[in-house]
Amino acid sequence: MGWAVIEMCETFVNLDIVVPSQTRYLRLVGAIAEQLAKELDVQEDTRDTLAFHLNLALTEAVANAIQYSSAAKSTDSVRICFSVDDAYLSVRVFDHGGGFDLAALPSPEFDELRERGRGIFFIRSVMDSVQYHKTDSGNVLEMRKKIA
Protein backbone atom coordinates (compact mmCIF):
# COMPACT_ATOMS: atom_id res chain seq x y z
CA MET A 1 0.00 0.00 0.00
CA GLY A 2 1.95 3.01 -1.22
CA TRP A 3 0.58 6.47 -0.61
CA ALA A 4 1.49 9.86 -1.95
CA VAL A 5 2.95 11.84 0.88
CA ILE A 6 2.94 15.41 -0.33
CA GLU A 7 2.18 16.65 -3.80
CA MET A 8 2.93 20.10 -5.13
CA CYS A 9 0.96 21.31 -8.12
CA GLU A 10 1.68 24.94 -8.51
CA THR A 11 1.79 26.41 -11.94
CA PHE A 12 4.55 28.97 -12.27
CA VAL A 13 6.84 30.57 -14.74
CA ASN A 14 8.61 33.79 -14.96
CA LEU A 15 11.65 33.67 -17.09
CA ASP A 16 13.52 36.35 -18.98
CA ILE A 17 16.14 35.41 -21.50
CA VAL A 18 18.37 37.52 -23.70
CA VAL A 19 20.34 36.14 -26.65
CA PRO A 20 22.35 37.85 -29.36
CA SER A 21 20.38 38.63 -32.50
CA GLN A 22 21.79 35.65 -34.41
CA THR A 23 20.01 32.67 -35.91
CA ARG A 24 22.44 30.20 -34.30
CA TYR A 25 20.57 30.85 -31.04
CA LEU A 26 17.23 29.67 -32.42
CA ARG A 27 17.97 26.08 -31.46
CA LEU A 28 18.79 27.02 -27.87
CA VAL A 29 15.74 29.26 -27.56
CA GLY A 30 13.55 26.46 -28.91
CA ALA A 31 15.12 23.97 -26.52
CA ILE A 32 14.57 26.27 -23.54
CA ALA A 33 10.94 26.72 -24.58
CA GLU A 34 10.53 22.93 -24.65
CA GLN A 35 12.19 22.58 -21.28
CA LEU A 36 9.88 25.16 -19.83
CA ALA A 37 6.81 23.40 -21.24
CA LYS A 38 7.99 20.26 -19.48
CA GLU A 39 8.09 22.11 -16.15
CA LEU A 40 4.52 23.35 -16.51
CA ASP A 41 1.75 21.63 -14.68
CA VAL A 42 -0.12 20.36 -17.75
CA GLN A 43 -1.54 16.94 -18.51
CA GLU A 44 1.03 14.30 -19.32
CA ASP A 45 -0.41 13.52 -22.76
CA THR A 46 -0.48 17.13 -23.95
CA ARG A 47 2.97 18.04 -22.65
CA ASP A 48 4.95 16.93 -25.67
CA THR A 49 2.62 18.76 -28.06
CA LEU A 50 2.81 21.90 -25.93
CA ALA A 51 6.61 21.62 -25.94
CA PHE A 52 6.64 21.33 -29.75
CA HIS A 53 4.25 24.23 -30.18
CA LEU A 54 6.21 26.54 -27.90
CA ASN A 55 9.43 25.57 -29.67
CA LEU A 56 7.83 26.35 -33.04
CA ALA A 57 6.21 29.64 -32.02
CA LEU A 58 9.43 30.87 -30.40
CA THR A 59 11.57 29.78 -33.33
CA GLU A 60 9.36 31.68 -35.79
CA ALA A 61 8.98 34.75 -33.59
CA VAL A 62 12.68 35.05 -32.73
CA ALA A 63 13.68 34.43 -36.37
CA ASN A 64 11.48 37.37 -37.35
CA ALA A 65 12.84 39.55 -34.55
CA ILE A 66 16.35 38.79 -35.81
CA GLN A 67 15.56 39.22 -39.48
CA TYR A 68 13.50 42.38 -39.33
CA SER A 69 15.70 44.07 -36.72
CA SER A 70 19.08 43.31 -38.14
CA ALA A 71 18.95 46.09 -40.69
CA ALA A 72 18.62 48.44 -37.74
CA LYS A 73 21.44 47.23 -35.51
CA SER A 74 23.58 44.14 -36.00
CA THR A 75 24.91 44.02 -32.45
CA ASP A 76 21.36 43.76 -31.22
CA SER A 77 20.02 41.16 -28.85
CA VAL A 78 16.60 39.58 -28.56
CA ARG A 79 14.75 39.52 -25.29
CA ILE A 80 12.14 36.88 -24.57
CA CYS A 81 9.88 36.89 -21.51
CA PHE A 82 7.81 33.95 -20.39
CA SER A 83 5.15 34.32 -17.73
CA VAL A 84 2.03 32.65 -16.45
CA ASP A 85 -1.04 34.56 -15.32
CA ASP A 86 -4.18 32.63 -14.46
CA ALA A 87 -4.34 29.75 -16.84
CA TYR A 88 -2.40 31.38 -19.65
CA LEU A 89 1.20 31.10 -20.60
CA SER A 90 2.27 34.32 -22.20
CA VAL A 91 5.46 34.76 -24.19
CA ARG A 92 6.73 38.13 -25.37
CA VAL A 93 9.44 38.57 -27.98
CA PHE A 94 10.93 42.05 -28.35
CA ASP A 95 12.41 43.54 -31.49
CA HIS A 96 13.92 46.88 -32.40
CA GLY A 97 13.02 47.05 -36.08
CA GLY A 98 10.47 49.11 -37.95
CA GLY A 99 7.55 47.00 -36.81
CA PHE A 100 4.58 45.87 -38.89
CA ASP A 101 0.81 45.66 -38.81
CA LEU A 102 -0.03 42.16 -37.66
CA ALA A 103 -3.78 42.62 -38.10
CA ALA A 104 -3.32 43.60 -41.74
CA LEU A 105 -1.29 40.49 -42.55
CA PRO A 106 -3.20 38.24 -44.96
CA SER A 107 -3.42 34.48 -44.42
CA PRO A 108 -1.00 32.62 -46.66
CA GLU A 109 -2.41 31.45 -49.99
CA PHE A 110 -1.70 27.75 -49.83
CA ASP A 111 -1.97 27.26 -53.57
CA GLU A 112 0.80 29.70 -54.31
CA LEU A 113 4.00 27.87 -53.60
CA ARG A 114 5.83 30.83 -52.17
CA GLU A 115 8.90 30.12 -50.09
CA ARG A 116 8.04 32.55 -47.33
CA GLY A 117 5.19 33.97 -45.34
CA ARG A 118 4.19 30.98 -43.18
CA GLY A 119 5.86 32.01 -39.90
CA ILE A 120 3.04 34.06 -38.40
CA PHE A 121 0.58 31.50 -39.74
CA PHE A 122 2.30 28.80 -37.68
CA ILE A 123 2.38 31.02 -34.61
CA ARG A 124 -1.35 31.67 -34.98
CA SER A 125 -1.98 27.96 -35.53
CA VAL A 126 -0.30 26.79 -32.34
CA MET A 127 -1.03 29.67 -29.95
CA ASP A 128 -4.40 30.92 -28.73
CA SER A 129 -3.83 34.60 -29.30
CA VAL A 130 -1.16 36.74 -30.94
CA GLN A 131 -0.70 40.49 -30.70
CA TYR A 132 1.96 42.91 -31.86
CA HIS A 133 2.44 46.39 -30.52
CA LYS A 134 5.03 49.12 -30.23
CA THR A 135 6.20 50.03 -26.74
CA ASP A 136 8.86 52.30 -25.30
CA SER A 137 11.20 49.34 -24.93
CA GLY A 138 10.78 48.23 -28.54
CA ASN A 139 8.13 46.32 -30.45
CA VAL A 140 6.68 43.26 -28.82
CA LEU A 141 5.00 40.18 -30.23
CA GLU A 142 2.86 38.73 -27.46
CA MET A 143 1.67 35.15 -27.80
CA ARG A 144 -0.69 33.52 -25.34
CA LYS A 145 -1.60 29.91 -24.82
CA LYS A 146 -4.20 28.43 -22.50
CA ILE A 147 -2.57 25.76 -20.38
CA ALA A 148 -5.27 24.79 -17.89
Binding site: L26, R27, N55, Q67, R114, R118, F121, F122
Partner: protein, 110 residues
Protein backbone atom coordinates in the same frame (compact mmCIF):
# COMPACT_ATOMS: atom_id res chain seq x y z
CA UNK B 1 24.40 21.72 -42.56
CA UNK B 2 25.57 18.16 -42.31
CA UNK B 3 24.18 15.99 -45.07
CA UNK B 4 25.24 12.92 -47.04
CA UNK B 5 24.80 12.64 -50.80
CA UNK B 6 24.56 9.26 -52.41
CA UNK B 7 23.66 8.13 -55.93
CA UNK B 8 21.55 4.98 -56.11
CA UNK B 9 20.64 3.84 -59.60
CA UNK B 10 18.91 6.83 -61.18
CA UNK B 11 18.28 8.59 -57.89
CA UNK B 12 20.29 11.08 -55.90
CA UNK B 13 19.61 10.79 -52.18
CA UNK B 14 20.36 13.70 -49.85
CA UNK B 15 20.25 12.44 -46.27
CA UNK B 16 19.99 15.35 -43.88
CA UNK B 17 22.12 14.71 -40.79
CA UNK B 18 20.71 17.57 -38.73
CA UNK B 19 17.99 17.04 -36.13
CA UNK B 20 16.71 20.53 -36.72
CA UNK B 21 16.14 22.75 -39.77
CA UNK B 22 15.45 26.39 -39.02
CA UNK B 23 16.40 29.85 -40.28
CA UNK B 24 20.00 29.15 -39.24
CA UNK B 25 20.58 26.34 -41.72
CA UNK B 26 17.66 26.42 -44.17
CA UNK B 27 19.66 28.63 -46.56
CA UNK B 28 22.32 25.92 -46.69
CA UNK B 29 19.68 23.29 -47.39
CA UNK B 30 18.32 25.40 -50.23
CA UNK B 31 21.81 25.82 -51.72
CA UNK B 32 22.59 22.14 -51.33
CA UNK B 33 19.49 21.09 -53.24
CA UNK B 34 20.09 23.71 -55.90
CA UNK B 35 23.71 22.60 -56.41
CA UNK B 36 22.62 18.99 -56.60
CA UNK B 37 20.15 19.84 -59.36
CA UNK B 38 22.70 22.00 -61.15
CA UNK B 39 25.06 19.02 -60.99
CA UNK B 40 22.64 17.15 -63.22
CA UNK B 41 20.70 15.05 -60.72
CA UNK B 42 17.45 13.95 -62.35
CA UNK B 43 15.65 12.33 -59.47
CA UNK B 44 16.25 13.81 -56.05
CA UNK B 45 15.10 12.20 -52.80
CA UNK B 46 15.51 14.12 -49.53
CA UNK B 47 15.72 11.77 -46.56
CA UNK B 48 14.39 13.65 -43.52
CA UNK B 49 14.36 10.68 -41.14
CA UNK B 50 16.80 12.33 -38.74
CA UNK B 51 15.06 15.69 -38.73
CA UNK B 52 12.91 16.13 -35.64
CA UNK B 53 11.97 19.76 -36.22
CA UNK B 54 11.52 22.03 -39.22
CA UNK B 55 10.32 25.63 -39.29
CA UNK B 56 8.70 27.75 -42.01
CA UNK B 57 12.06 28.65 -43.54
CA UNK B 58 12.90 24.95 -43.83
CA UNK B 59 9.62 24.32 -45.66
CA UNK B 60 10.59 27.26 -47.87
CA UNK B 61 13.93 25.63 -48.71
CA UNK B 62 12.17 22.39 -49.67
CA UNK B 63 9.65 24.34 -51.78
CA UNK B 64 12.54 26.04 -53.54
CA UNK B 65 13.97 22.58 -54.30
CA UNK B 66 10.62 21.32 -55.49
CA UNK B 67 10.10 24.25 -57.86
CA UNK B 68 13.63 24.04 -59.20
CA UNK B 69 13.37 20.32 -59.79
CA UNK B 70 10.07 20.79 -61.61
CA UNK B 71 11.60 23.50 -63.84
CA UNK B 72 14.40 21.05 -64.72
CA UNK B 73 12.01 18.12 -65.16
CA UNK B 74 13.66 16.31 -62.28
CA UNK B 75 11.78 14.19 -59.78
CA UNK B 76 11.73 15.52 -56.21
CA UNK B 77 10.58 13.37 -53.31
CA UNK B 78 10.69 13.53 -49.51
CA UNK B 79 11.09 10.51 -47.25
CA UNK B 80 11.04 9.63 -43.56
CA UNK B 81 9.07 12.56 -42.15
CA UNK B 82 8.95 12.43 -38.35
CA UNK B 83 5.61 13.33 -36.69
CA UNK B 84 6.46 16.95 -35.88
CA UNK B 85 7.83 17.50 -39.37
CA UNK B 86 4.84 15.85 -40.99
CA UNK B 87 2.46 18.05 -39.01
CA UNK B 88 4.11 21.14 -40.51
CA UNK B 89 3.30 19.91 -44.02
CA UNK B 90 -0.25 19.14 -43.03
CA UNK B 91 -0.90 22.51 -41.40
CA UNK B 92 0.17 24.25 -44.61
CA UNK B 93 -1.37 21.55 -46.86
CA UNK B 94 2.04 21.06 -48.46
CA UNK B 95 1.64 17.29 -48.08
CA UNK B 96 -0.62 17.58 -51.14
CA UNK B 97 2.15 19.27 -53.10
CA UNK B 98 5.16 17.12 -52.31
CA UNK B 99 5.74 13.52 -53.24
CA UNK B 100 6.13 12.03 -49.74
CA UNK B 101 7.20 8.50 -48.75
CA UNK B 102 7.16 7.03 -45.25
CA UNK B 103 10.76 5.84 -45.59
CA UNK B 104 13.76 6.13 -47.88
CA UNK B 105 13.38 2.47 -48.76
CA UNK B 106 9.82 2.99 -49.98
CA UNK B 107 10.89 6.09 -51.91
CA UNK B 108 13.63 4.12 -53.66
CA UNK B 109 11.37 1.22 -54.59
CA UNK B 110 8.60 3.52 -55.86
Amino acid sequence: MRAAKEVRDDRTVLSIQEDRIDAHNSGELKDLVLKTLEGGAKNVVIDLARVQFIDSSGLGALLSGYKNATLRSSGFALAGLQPRVRSMFELTRLHRVFDIYPSLQLALSA
